[in-house]
Subunit: 415 residues, 2 copies
Amino acid sequence: MSFFRKKIYACAGFNTVSLGSGRKEFHPKKPRPGIEHYIKEAGLGTIEQIENPANIDEGVIGNFVAERFCKQGNLGGFFPIVHPTFQYKPCIRVEGACDSGGLALVVSIKTILADLADVILAIGVEIQNSVKAIYGADYLAAAGWYSGERKKGHAYFFPDQFSQRAGACFEKFGYDKIRAGMSQWYVNAIENARKNPKAQEFHNKNPELYATGMTSPNPKVFCEYINVFDCSKVSDGGSALLFASEEGLKKIGVDKKDAVEVVAYAQVQDNLTTPPPDLTKLSTCEIAAKRAYERAGIKPEDLSVLDVHDCFTIAGVLAIEAAGVAGYGEGADFIKDGKTKTDGVIPTNATGGLIGYGHPTGATGVRQAVDVVHQLLNKAEECQVNIHPDRPFGMMSSMGGNDKTVAAMVFRKTE
Amino acid sequence: MSFFRKKIYACAGFNTVSLGSGRKEFHPKKPRPGIEHYIKEAGLGTIEQIENPANIDEGVIGNFVAERFCKQGNLGGFFPIVHPTFQYKPCIRVEGACDSGGLALVVSIKTILADLADVILAIGVEIQNSVKAIYGADYLAAAGWYSGERKKGHAYFFPDQFSQRAGACFEKFGYDKIRAGMSQWYVNAIENARKNPKAQEFHNKNPELYATGMTSPNPKVFCEYINVFDCSKVSDGGSALLFASEEGLKKIGVDKKDAVEVVAYAQVQDNLTTPPPDLTKLSTCEIAAKRAYERAGIKPEDLSVLDVHDCFTIAGVLAIEAAGVAGYGEGADFIKDGKTKTDGVIPTNATGGLIGYGHPTGATGVRQAVDVVHQLLNKAEECQVNIHPDRPFGMMSSMGGNDKTVAAMVFRKTE
């Protein structure tokens, strides 16, 4: 029995370049495209792949905090700039911190299941280079509880939250093992990004990635247990993905073989006012993955491709445990042994992930889904991994805050 | 034929006090409840009216700009504070400027229609008294296009936008007529609010309301064509409303006679980067109302109660024209003739509206729906209007920005 009351497909998708430090075309002092540009570029890049964009019924825009970085809200109002036929159609902006993009996927699917639309354009977008990193860190801290934990928090609030997670893992499972897994995660991220022309680390030529990953933390200027290479960068970018019913695919002229089926999702919300139950686990991500697998009727072993939310290398380590591909405390070794590499047991973040592609926060959940869909459609170009005929599934898991707001979605290659 | 694929009901709802200047308990220098409080108070006030809140499946939170007023995002993370059984359930935060609450209603309905849930708690919330009004006006200006119109805009951006609308109406239809309609709108708003203990203007004892409404604008300190009484106030508040399927009503122990049916809605998005096509019209609101009526299979004359988005008195005048209860250019006379009063042709904003109840922006759309539902259930206490047996419908229309983002929803009394 299907989890959804009717078939839902994802077809065309598009990611912009993730712009920020590391990209050759980025210069902190030069003017850069605004949020409108990324919404339009991602939207157009997607609808150019289909016939008749007039048949797109609605839009959803995922964005975390344009109110701060761009002094801009009412973001649905940028949907009509993508295509003239979108004028006076509905568009909803959703926010769930760094899971905002994941929530855009969820609302898109709900709208089609509701029989209110046949084709939905989900867009994720974020601008973060508009202010210095230290101010940006404060804006992004809006994902944590302002009246609570943030009052006594670190200037780099989220890096510090995940630094504490790394410290807890060092203590519980041993520094060498966890640190090696984190550094190998960094190596894989950059190596994968070098094959993805849209990735922020595409131009990274560092020949000593592992040594760089092992850089000692400097608590005087940053965090206690992690270094700056353990962190996803400050990024501007947008992503878009089209969802359609069976009828919708016909309306936009997409053959079912050029679409993947969305088989299930799970969205899980933890309480923002309580501390994580266990610093060595992404408990909410784990619940979301378990629910998603159960609803899809599959096991982690059925995945050919996985995309997890590695806002920090330690988050990557914990995310593959939460996704059930590695056991508790075993993620670091799993990574060190090459099992998450593109030719490994479960290719994970094959396009670079948040560390390699970049992390335009509100775009990330959509970007992850676009990349999983491209993999299942064999359209991932240099980043393509092997989709096993008997493992036709891919999953993405997107996380907002410190394991607070999570959306996981399972896709299946069509016959 | 129904617009929705299955029956959707709204049942229990709750509005907090709209706190701000005018309320006796408000003092600008004294500590006030935060956003967490209003989410919890509105949510609890609602779920206390039903059996078994554990059967609530999901939450939706409408909020405009807590990122500025409260330095807080990731708002879905406050859903679990309402009730322990909400932990790890989904919650989505939606934003559409002052229509954020309206969008929360829309996503709630989509989720039930999608067969993903039977009972949804929609919450709207906003805090605005955390900063001085002039800063607040800048935060709220996020509803307009920052890179465009706002660059050359007025310090009181939105008041000025609607002041220009008033000026255009004065020029086209005559100052005396329009001004009289605006002032009468103010009178009705305060008179209705005096019967609503939750209203910000509940304590207003001014015996000369019409004269106050006629106060001359002072462009030196405010706007050219409107005075401060033409504006909804700065408000903190929250509202919540439960939506359920037929099965959902049973699960929460609500009899169908204690619920109203949601018969249709229309959500319409105009382009944020273009000026309004006609300053003397709320064109997007008009499209939304027309679509909502058509989908509900009714005419404006079938309504017994109407709640429109009077962020300014001129918006009230134009909103009743957009809702089709008064003809183009005839709204002001319609109001002056008492036709929108609680004993008039179409009782409008019977609980005070945004001018009288207050305008905690992200809460407003939910507040409007709560009040329409209470009217149809005969639970509006001192504010109750006559629900004609042959006009069993009520409509709310919520607007974000300068007629940019609109949701209109039609409810029907059950047998």
